[in-house]
Subunit: 211 residues, 2 copies
């Protein structure tokens, strides 16, 4: 195996290190976060850090880089409280990835790509039109990570829209039926196929199955 | 599309809600976290919440459920500071999933499965022998999430071991070459194939490519 220790990681070229560390943690979610400024300008940006935090209450988190760069998503969420998480799927892969380009706040990424926005019910933030899973959230709390000033943003789920064919009888959302993407590192994309659903596990009784 | 609002989500049967909310955030990483108690008993447990937090310094985080259940992983990390993150791959899928069973602290999951532990360099915690990516970390800090008492545990990467054939010339770790798993919800597993690596994105100049 190839080995890197802490010192060697620190001494790597910054682009090599960014690829290595971003891809060494495993597969990541692939989402577009939609927001709208107080002035009514929509914003949509790709994130690979959306995470499950709890089911009851239903909470999702995501990680934002330090506040030193332009972050329309963060500013809009802090001002307006509402945002949407929309799953990236095969058809919109290239446009979704393009939202990582840095546009000024007065430009909507919806105007610069073939992604289209849709407003559902009376939710303030825009959803992404063709996304097979669309989630509307309200900002709840945030944590600034002391070690590197990234921000964990936590929201509570208010609305979920799921394409009918993805939803199974026990509530399982079959992501592979929506051709939903997973991210490897900074720029690698997969469209995974579901291989197996495992059973709930109980401890083995050592030695014998008869107690 | 099927629609759920906040009230409807709260009123779902708890198992249906657990499946729905755990699988609605997108694909998750699939890792075994290895620890060792102060008494020298090894522990290994499956986690789907390992996340990238930063490359410089190289930091990973993961989420633990509230402190009301037995959590050998957390207790060991807090007492001994060191732990390992090992990628789940096709060959060890069933055994990896079995580590979700609740064993008492005096039982090592390495003894109850075909997973085998390996100690590398002088690192305190055990690595998982056949994992194509193995990461040794030192505990750095933790955040208790106010909304549901889950804990975000953050560690700094000290050692990384990567199977040679996964590592590309620019530092990209090609997870699909290691048949590494991705998790959908609580119990769904995929072994994704890399589809494409995209280019770094610059803003489009609207109207014309000539400024």
């Amino acid at each position: 195996m190839v080995f890197f220790n802490k010192k060697q990681i620190e001494d790597l070229h910054h682009l090599y290190r960014a690829n290595l560390i971003n891809s060494c943690s495993g597969y990541k979610s692939a989402n577009l976060i939609g927001t709208r400024s107080a002035e009514g300008i929509s914003n949509v940006a790709i994130f690979s850090s959306v995470m499950h935090l709890g089911s009851d209450p239903a909470l999702l988190g995501f990680i934002l880089r330090p506040a030193t760069v332009i972050r329309n998503t963060y500013d809009n969420i802090k001002k307006t409280k509402y945002y949407t998480i929309n799953h990236i799927h095969q058809e919109i892969l290239a446009d979704a990835h393009h939202t990582s380009a840095k546009y000024d706040q007065e430009i909507s990424e919806f105007d610069m790509t073939d992604l289209s926005e849709i407003f559902l019910e009376d939710f303030f933030a825009p959803f992404v039109n063709r996304a097979p899973v669309k989630i509307g959230l309200k900002f709840l709390e945030e944590y600034v990570i002391n070690a590197n000033q990234t921000i964990l943003v936590i929201g509570e789920i208010h609305n979920i829209y799921i394409d009918k064919e993805l939803l199974e009888v026990d509530g399982f959302v079959n992501l592979s039926k929506g051709r939903i993407a997973s991210i490897n590192g900074l720029d690698g994309y997969s469209i995974p196929e579901l291989k197996v659903r495992m059973e709930y596990q109980l401890p083995k009784i050592s030695g014998s199955l008869i107690p």
